[in-house]
Symmetry: C2
Subunit: 174 residues, 2 copies
Amino acid sequence: MGRPTDTRDRILATARELFLEKGVRDTSLQHIADRLGITKPALYYHFSSRDDLLRTIVTPMFEELEAFLAEQAGATAEELLGAYFDLAWRRRDTLVMILSDLSVLHELDLIARMLAFREGLTTILMGGAPELGARIRATVAVGGLSDTVVMFPREPYEQVRQAAVAAAIMALRG
Amino acid sequence: MGRPTDTRDRILATARELFLEKGVRDTSLQHIADRLGITKPALYYHFSSRDDLLRTIVTPMFEELEAFLAEQAGATAEELLGAYFDLAWRRRDTLVMILSDLSVLHELDLIARMLAFREGLTTILMGGAPELGARIRATVAVGGLSDTVVMFPREPYEQVRQAAVAAAIMALRG
DNA sequence: GTCTATAAGTTGATAGAC
DNA sequence: GTCTATCAACTTATAGAC
């Protein structure tokens, strides 16, 4: 891993910036180096590969999602959806990065982890192993919630949260 | 444009296949040619560029979406969401292709067209120019509906449709 | 219509000097 | 820690023979 250098942090910040602006796949190490005013090999001193850099940026959200699942075992649907909205809102930059190009997940072998989270959330939301109808309603609720975070990132947090969580809860009831 | 050749159709079928299997960005003309047992230059006889090929596959869905919007001007929310689900379900291969890699839209300059459709649908759904809360509820409904089509493409149409549309309608009411 | 051969560019990554 | 120089692999695309 290695201690956080100054340069290392600047690389991470610039990478996040470009991944968000132009998309992960359309951002090469060359672009990142150019914007930083350094050269490509300098990047390799701080990160062992492009994968390593990307993983460093993306994985914290997954760790947070999994910790979140572990905590909320006994919560109501309303508390659960509210807490999920808050996490998604806080990590919305990463969420946009991923939802704008889901093949990033495949590139980093993170698909199973994402599906496991979704399934875990659904299971807690509906209780036990739900039948198809319940899983579909949960998909509308969770998928819809995520979409609002991506579509209204500049609108006031309170307003988005109130309307989005209310809609998700209604969808869940079907 | 040109009349549909036999080879041209086989190229389109194989391209659709690979775009869906491996993703649009991870499918090169080489891959398509290899699976078809022809060479890359042969592709260029039938399509003027990779863009042309991709566009030929993707744009029919947009034309259908826009025709759909024009027809449903006076429909109820329930009819509208049901008809949208049917269209998305019928075109789910294209929808998966696009939602798996939204940068495809950017590549083909189709983002504005997609947003215009979403806005048009929202406007009809809510009537007039809706305030933020209503737009958020419509986003949960339409985004959630789209997600179910992507997540449950092999489940029975009737069951998915019934549960998904019901959930979307509830979300819309908020 | 389809081929061989090739151009011209980009990418991630490494060797080795300073 | 950062540089110059370079590599091998891949991409879209074209010229020209058959």
